[in-house]
Amino acid sequence: MRNPQLNRHGELIHLLSIEGLPRDVVTHILDTAGTFLSVSEREVKKVPLLRGKSVFNLFFENSTRTRTTFEIAAKRLSADVINLDIARSSTAKGESLLDTIANLSAMHADMFVVRHAESGAPYLIARHVAPHVHVVNAGDGRHAHPTQGLLDMYTIRHYKRDFTNLTVAIVGDIVHSRVARSDIHALATLGVPEIRAVGPRTLVPGDLREMGVRVCHDMAEGVRGADVVIMLRLQNERMSGAMLPSAGEFFKTYGLTPDKLALAKPDAIVMHPGPINRGVEIDSSVADGSHSVILPQVTFGIAVRMAVMSIIAGNEA
């Protein structure tokens, strides 16, 4: 079966997951993002590529930040952006997901940006929209968060240039993290030789080894010699007790402090998808320190989302 994200010419028409995307598609997105990065520095911070198109932000799960960056990206491409507070509207009245999509399609939507608590929801939508309509996954359940994965790759490439000699450590709550999953797929696609997943047994699934990931339950072992350290947020809202003794205990063992960071390469970069929990997974002095590239990640995220939206909008199903 063909990858539902690609048309018969192998061009990207939806972005649902990084898994299964060819390397040249990923690289094309990163290259295009580079072009868009400068748009935000111009006097006129807008280009007309999506002029006359309507982008619907469908956030079935709350996320002010991701929704805002998609909104900014779509507006810089001159699209009309409609934000639907879906969690509180039609679904609360019992409307099914596909009925919601059919109704919004009747309002001439050209693109849906979807966040949903259920893994696979964006795939279902992509299968049911008209050929000219495009879908971007903005996070589905524990499955994928491809634009975060891509902006992480953009950030790594910006600071490290080449992927093929890097050691990347992803630290924390991996089992609940769609960001970790998207990062791992992207890093593997781009040829990173050493990908480490670091955290306690309860939060790092052992089957990651099958994806070529080195699993480390010891923080020192996980961070030692790393070029890139990606810290994940401890997802309190997804955790049902029992998996961790306490947040304080977690910080003591896996929190990124200056002395733990000292084990990484001297020029290592520290990343975090945000929002950060200071003193839970990352020490304030590290989050604000010279190795941290957490705020540049946010800036790059807008350019990457502009790239994704303009590429898929330019390709026919």
Partner: protein
């Protein structure tokens, strides 16, 4: 018309000579990516212009985005000077429909309001679809619509023209 022998180096020499009348001391040279950018780079050097030349791309303002999508490989616009109030000379290798120049003008105005914009090209091949005319063209030729004409730059920096039939 089968093949057309255009001596790109001879035309470049003519363009270089023709530009002298168009360039004021504070005129900024801006090459349209990619062939025009090579021309601007060499003109900047050969005419001993002060400062750096600019490079501009039509990618983000093209009117065929719906059919073509984002063309890969286009470099980003780089204008290392203040555009507001500036006298700008756009340089391109081949002028055809005028659509690239239209897109580039929009791109340019995203950076500011230039005092004046003029256009100089190596070859004007006719076939205009918009009211755009160059202030200087080193050659005017007629080519059938199916033929593509583009400038190439060798490892030694010398220019040649290549023609091929569009697929």
């Amino acid at each position: 018309m089968s093949t057309l022998a255009l001596d790109a180096e001879a035309l470049y020499a003519e363009l270089r000579a023709g530009l002298r009348g168009l360039l004021a001391p504070d005129t900024a040279l801006v090459g349209i990516w990619s062939g025009g950018a090579w021309l601007a780079e060499r003109l900047q050097r050969d005419l001993q212009r002060p400062g750096a030349h600019g490079v501009i791309t039509s990618t983000l303002h093209r009117d065929d985005f719906g059919e073509r999508g984002l063309a890969g490989g286009a470099g980003a616009t780089q204008l290392p000077f203040e555009v507001d109030g500036r006298d700008i000379l756009l340089v391109d290798d081949v002028l055809y429909t005028g659509r690239t120049v239209r897109a580039v003008l929009n791109e340019l105005f995203d950076y500011g309001r230039p005092a004046r914009v003029t256009l100089a090209v190596l070859v004007d091949r006719g076939g205009r679809e918009l009211p755009i005319e160059p202030a200087f063209a080193a050659a005017r030729v007629a080519l059938p619509p199916g033929q593509r004409l583009s400038l190439a730059r060798g490892d030694d920096g010398r220019f040649t023209f290549s023609t091929r039939s569009a697929a």
